[in-house]
């Protein structure tokens, strides 16, 4: 108690210096928190948009499906399984899917395509897939004998709404699969890859065509943007029979995107690192001045019977206090900025808006308010303050009382 009080009083001996130091910490943390929040927000949004329309955040497959993505590695729909999954509070929704490949042909053109058997109603509710329709209309039910296909693909096949597309593929247990569907709508998706290859078919139609009644390749799981996927994965694995099912995150299924984000973040970490390096110098300078000015007093304290490690502890507390004042106000400021931007989102304009919209991502800049960001920055500053306080502590430990008193 006495130590805390003394440390607190000491840091205000030179008010101006303390304010300058805490202010520099404040700005560094504010900057770090808002940039982290901004880029994380952008990434989260990007993931949400791309992952949401393709894999989902997590998928459940028949064990071994991912290594050999064949229609034979499907599993039977199972109401009990669905109930189990939905019981987990992090699981916001589940979507049954039958993903497979086919050759699509229209007049003279033929092309390999990605076939997604979906529940149109659910995809509409969850992904607003219907809003991506650029021509024609969206699918109405699981049973409808119609398809929707990517804009790029439609252009390559030179086909438009109301034309009929023939799909040819390999069915369940080597049966042959062939069917003809009316194109009901054309969809514009963010990811060019999807846009150029995808065909959406109502789930029951897909199952029927592939001779895989009631079978699915995957259950796609939707969760919140900032859910910890690894944790959710582990808890889902606990629910399921691991010999029959595998659980995978989007990072495992789309590693390219994960790598892109990692690479993009690295640059930012370097900038934030430099920032913290600079404020470390400021804090360190302050600490050095503090012990330099107080040598005489430190000598007196040792003379009258204060142990050196207590003095070192006081100096460490002072360092932590200065850093934490800056850090906590910085975090608080960061929270205000993030909350404000979440209430009043930045809408991109001009070129940037176009780029975003071309990718099918809303042209809004989201800020992430994941607690992680704030906690991590606080911890970094705290650790810096402790590490930096080692030097003054060391100086105190080897202080000779008489030399200190005479200085």
């Amino acid at each position: 108690m006495m130590l805390l009080k003394l440390a607190w009083l000491n840091i205000w001996r030179n008010k101006r210096r303390t304010i300058i130091t805490t202010t520099s910490v404040f700005f560094a943390v504010l900057l770090a928190v808002t940039t982290r929040s901004m880029t994380d927000g952008v990434y989260e949004n990007m993931i949400h948009n791309i992952v949401g329309y393709s894999s989902g955040y997590l998928q459940i497959h028949q064990y071994g499906y991912w290594d050999e993505q064949s229609i034979d590695n499907t599993f039977e729909e199972n109401g009990e399984l669905n109930q189990k999954l939905l019981k987990n509070p992090k699981v916001k929704n589940i979507m049954p899917r039958l993903n497979t490949f086919a050759l699509a042909s229209y007049s003279e053109k033929t092309k390999g395509v990605l076939v997604l058997g979906i529940d149109p109603i659910k995809e509409k509710e969850v992904n607003n897939l219907d809003q991506k329709i650029s021509k024609g209309t969206y699918l109405e039910s699981e049973n409808e004998n119609a398809i929707v296909l990517g804009e790029g693909l439609a252009a390559q096949l030179k086909l438009s709404v109301n034309d009929s597309l023939v799909l040819l593929g390999q069915g369940y247990h080597a049966s042959s699969a062939a069917a003809k569907f009316k194109v009901k709508g054309i969809i514009k998706l963010g990811s060019p890859d999807l846009n150029n290859n995808i065909v959406y078919i109502p789930l029951r139609q897909a199952q029927y065509m592939y001779g895989a009644e009631n079978r699915l390749t995957a259950i796609s799981i939707l969760t919140d943007k900032n859910t910890n996927l690894e944790k959710l994965k582990v808890s889902l694995q606990g629910l399921l029979d691991s010999d029959r099912y595998e659980v995978m995150t989007w990072k495992e299924m789309i590693p390219e995107m994960d790598q892109f984000i990692e690479a993009d973040s690295t640059g930012q970490y370097i900038i934030i690192g430099v920032l913290y390096f600079l404020i470390s110098f400021g804090l360190f300078g302050t600490l050095l001045m503090m012990i330099f000015e107080r040598k005489h007093e430190l000598g007196i304290l040792i003379a009258i019977g204060m142990k050196k490690h207590l003095l070192a502890l006081i100096l460490m507390l002072e360092s932590i206090m200065i850093a934490l004042i800056g850090c906590l106000t910085g975090v608080l400021g960061g929270m205000l900025v993030v909350t404000w931007f979440n209430k009043n989102p930045i809408h991109f304009t001009g070129e940037l808006k176009e780029i975003y919209e071309n990718y099918g991502i809303e042209s809004i800049m989201y800020f992430s308010n994941s607690a992680n960001i704030f906690v991590v920055q606080t911890l970094i500053v705290l650790i810096l303050a402790i590490v930096l306080a080692f030097y003054p502590g060391y100086t105190v430990m080897k202080l000779k009382p008489i030399d200190a008193i005479n200085s």
């Binding site: 006495m2 003394l6 009083l9 000491n10 205000w12 001996r13 005489h296 007093e297 007196i300 304290l301 040792i302 003379a303 009258i304 019977g305 204060m306 142990k307 050196k308 000779k400 009382p401 008489i402 008193i405």
Partner: protein
Amino acid sequence: MAKTIIDAHNLSKTYNADTVPVKAVQDVHIHIEEGEFVALVGPSGSGKSTLLNMIGGLDEPTSGSVVLDQVEITKLPENKLIDFRLHNIGFVFQSYNLIPVLTAKENVGFVLQLQKIPKEEREKRVLNLLHQVGLEDKLNSRPGELSGGQQQRVAVARALASKPKIVLADEPTANLDSKSTANLLDIMAKLNKEEKTTFLFSTHDIRVIQKARRVITLVDGKVESDVQQTPK
């Protein structure tokens, strides 16, 4: 028979032994008994501060030993020595003795807090001491708000807070005017009588020397004379 409280044997201190050696203290024997009120005098550079610092365990002698109340402090490891000082020695330095951010009351109470004395007892002792040094109306003043003489009185009160056996003071009145000097000396003499604390203080001031009951004179690091006298 009174008991020996300070016993310095063959005490020597040589600075810069490997370049230009300065023999600050040479082969000093000093023997002081409990309750004495001793002035250490001598010209500037005669070794008074060096001797006091070695006796207080703030500086290491080049040779010889210091025994305080039967403890050979020159052999104690650092933390034990600090603890010994906390419980047995009160210090008054020439100036800037106090912790500037703490009030007079807190400064005096600080040593007691280090000794983990319970709050109530602490409070009582602090008030009593500040009363004895005549500062009962300055309890909550910080050192910056006190005059030099008042600061030294607080320092004396702090030196006595832990009921030490010995108070060592290196020129405690050097920065004081004559009135404050007389006042501080009277307080020290009174506490010496009432608390039976042994005082050893260095000084240049003839009026301070007159208040002592024993005067040890150092010249060139050696004891030149050691006389008992009746204080004026």
